[in-house]
């Protein structure tokens, strides 16, 4: 990436995966390329297991009733259990069946990025960020004594950063119409949701942040009230008219 001049980065990798692009930014200490290759290969195996675009994936076969969850990869049962918990936590606005068919995608990408980050950390990359299509899991810090700082992109003008969230071991997930077109569905009605432009949720765990952002986006105008009640996750909402709302603790302007 010739345009980048991030002098703190000791290693960067970009990898197409899950219909998007993953970008890995490793800060000191570095790790061997082979450790990164192993983690990327794991991500591709997760994609193969959970892709709803692949007719032969385990999740597609389960959805068609051709495969029992008990006979699938253990990760499938783990994901589906977490989906059920999240459905209860979000009053049903998060669902593994957003359009009536089995599709846990609202959790899988964030969960996979978080677990991949855990694997990178275990391999020795104590400080890194892994960004999968705009959902980011940071490990450690950006530099000694300096937390990671992640900008939230303006959904109507991707050249602008609307807000910045900072922290060590920080996860930031955003759901919005720019992400998947008008394809975030209200699981209750199966109708596309357009009341918000984007919802960003930040906290420790990207799987949970991703699912909360998806659920809050589906809530539409009720999202800020629900997000304000979350204990360990901060959030930032952009409305279609450009207005914004931030939960306490989500600081500040760039």
């Amino acid at each position: 990436m010739p345009v980048a001049d991030d002098s703190l980065t000791v290693l960067r990798r970009v990898e197409p995966c899950m219909g998007t692009v993953f970008s890995l930014d490793v800060r000191a200490p570095a790790v061997d390329d082979s450790a990164i290759d192993d983690v990327l290969a794991w991500l591709h195996r997760v994609e193969a297991t959970f892709s709803t675009y692949r007719a032969d994936s385990e999740i597609s076969r389960i959805g068609r009733g051709e495969l029992a969850v008990a006979d699938a990869s253990p990760q499938v049962a783990e994901i589906l259990r977490r989906c059920e918990e999240l459905e209860r936590e979000t009053d049903g606005y998060f669902s593994a069946y957003p359009d009536g068919r089995l599709d846990p995608s609202g959790l899988v990408k964030g969960w996979a990025i978080e677990r991949a980050s855990d694997r990178l950390r275990a391999a020795g990359a104590a400080n890194h960020s892994l960004n999968g299509g705009g959902d980011v899991q940071c490990a450690g810090s950006a530099a000694p004594g300096r937390p990671w700082r992640i900008g939230v992109i303006d959904p109507s003008e991707p050249g602008r950063v609307l807000a910045v969230v900072a922290g060590d071991d920080l996860a930031v997930a955003t759901s919005g119409t720019a992400e998947r077109g008008a394809h975030v569905l209200d699981p209750h009605t199966h109708a596309p949701v357009t009341a918000l432009a984007s919802v960003t949720v930040a906290g420790r765990h990207l799987g949970t942040a991703d699912a909360y952002a998806t659920a809050a986006f589906a809530m539409g105008g009720a999202a800020p009230d629900w997000l304000a009640g979350l204990r360990d996750y901060r959030s930032f909402v952009v409305f279609p008219d450009g207005g914004t709302w931030a939960s306490p603790g989500f600081a500040g302007q760039p």
Binding site: A4, S23, G134, D135, V136, I153, G181
Partner: protein
């Protein structure tokens, strides 16, 4: 004083990508798409979101205070190539 540079149209398996870069002094102030063709809806989805991960890089390069961005998705090799060809003119 702003200058605008147009990158090469780069053909990828997802379609043709061509970007335009606006620079004010040595700072990238805008990156926009001139071409985003695609042959199917899946590719269009990828291309429609092809910018921001590079934007992540450009923003990170310009602001020592931002390490990455959320809410932006996708890149393609074509995007990077077209952007680089635009920057090479700057």
């Amino acid at each position: 004083m702003s200058h605008t540079y147009t990158g090469q149209a780069v053909r990828t398996r997802y379609g043709t990508v061509q970007v335009q870069v606006t620079m004010t002094g040595s700072t990238i102030t805008n990156v926009s798409f001139l071409q985003l063709s695609a042959t199917d809806s899946r590719s269009q989805q990828i291309n429609a979101n092809a910018g921001p991960i590079l934007l992540e890089q450009t923003l990170a390069a310009q602001s020592a205070q931002i390490d990455g961005v959320s809410g932006a998705t996708y890149t393609t090799q074509g995007y990077e190539q077209s952007l680089q060809s635009a920057l090479d003119q700057a």
